[in-house]
């Protein structure tokens, strides 16, 4: 199972717990630390709709291709206003080339078709800051569920971790990975 991890946390907190869970299953995963990648934000030009390739020719263009060919995508991000940290959103905006030009009805909603032959499952891991307001954890779970519909994911799971409390979710990580494996 090809897994890609997008990491948007500015420390290694929790990294070992996630690595251990992934290693136990599939040996390794492609780990992309977004803090270390030079890439530009999506300019919303729509150029990728026709070609499936971003007009920004930078490091992230190949990363998106690798994500498109993966079986599972793990998004690890600080939760900001119940959703992704801007750094993670900068990466996700660049996923637009994964969508086809044509439209389809999926889950009773209008969507673009997917260019991926077998779309990836999604696991969202959100780190909740101390200052988070009520309901941000629920919003994050809802966001991951929405991504699953939008990206035609066969399955999804979300985990919310309180900052500095990774030990408390040590069991949730393998469970989430199992859930997304079984559905494939």
């Amino acid at each position: 199972m090809k897994t890609v991890v997008l990491w948007a946390i500015d420390s290694d907190e929790g990294r070992r717990a996630l690595e251990r869970s992934l290693e136990a299953r599939e040996g390794s995963a492609r780990w992309i630390d977004l803090n270390q990648v030079e890439f530009g934000p999506c300019v919303g030009c729509g150029g990728c709709a026709k070609t499936g390739r971003c007009v920004l020719d930078d490091e992230f263009t190949d990363i998106v291709a690798a994500i498109g060919g993966s079986d599972r995508l793990v998004l690890v991000t600080p939760i900001f206003l119940g959703v992704h940290h801007p750094l993670m959103k900068k990466a996700i905006d660049r996923f637009l080339p994964l969508a086809g030009e044509r439209f389809a009805v999926r889950s009773g909603e209008m969507h673009h078709t997917s260019r991926m032959a077998t779309p990836f499952a999604i696991v969202g891991v959100g780190v909740l800051p101390e200052a988070a307001s009520n309901g941000e954890a629920e919003t994050f779970a809802r966001l991951i569920a929405r991504h699953a519909v939008n990206l035609a994911a066969p399955s999804h799971a979300s985990i919310v971790v309180r900052r500095g409390a990774w030990d408390g979710v040590a069991e949730e990580i393998p469970e989430a990975l199992d859930r997304t494996e079984r559905a494939r």
């Binding site: 919303g44 119940g82 801007p86 900068k90 905006d93 996923f95 044509r102 209008m110 919003t139 991504h147």
Partner: protein, 206 residues
Amino acid sequence: MTVVLFAGSPRARSNTRSISADLRIRLEAAGATVVTLDPKRGEEATPVFIARSIEALREADALVIASPVYLDLPPFKALSWLHALLEEHERLAEYGPNVYAITHSGYFEPVHKAVSLRAYEHFCDRVHWPWRGGLAFGGTSPIDGRTLGEAGPFSRRVRPALDALADVIAGGKLVPRKLSARAGRSPIPLPRTLVVWLMNRMLKRQ
């Protein structure tokens, strides 16, 4: 009253800008002074732009955050601005403009925009500003950066909703549910599968 209008699209020909410009006209007609914050790409989180934003917000009675929705959320540009603003939350907590939002995308269903509106609501919780609600327009792609007048029938759901929203903002009121529901209706009153079939047919011809 003073209204700060933030336009959070990274596009050059931006529908967010079209919608914001139209709302601005309507707010000015209602007697408001409107300050538009429309940062260039990459400028939105710079110290200079954030200082300018805070200065404008200090005097504001209302803030309107307008943005498209890319993959279930406002684009990086809008989130990045909010993130940089929140770094100054202690200063922001001294002010308290009413906050409204306008989200839009090519997809018709309001559910595509729901998480974005919720994120804006969480922003208000964090800075203790009153959240007054938002509108979620679908099917806005054909506006294609034109004025709403030029876009003609493609903006027929948007224009009356903005008219009503300007009154709501001027009165400092909550966005009525009826207005949200009206704004969220499909601009093409046909079954979804038929609309998708027609759109794919048009793409094939192109």
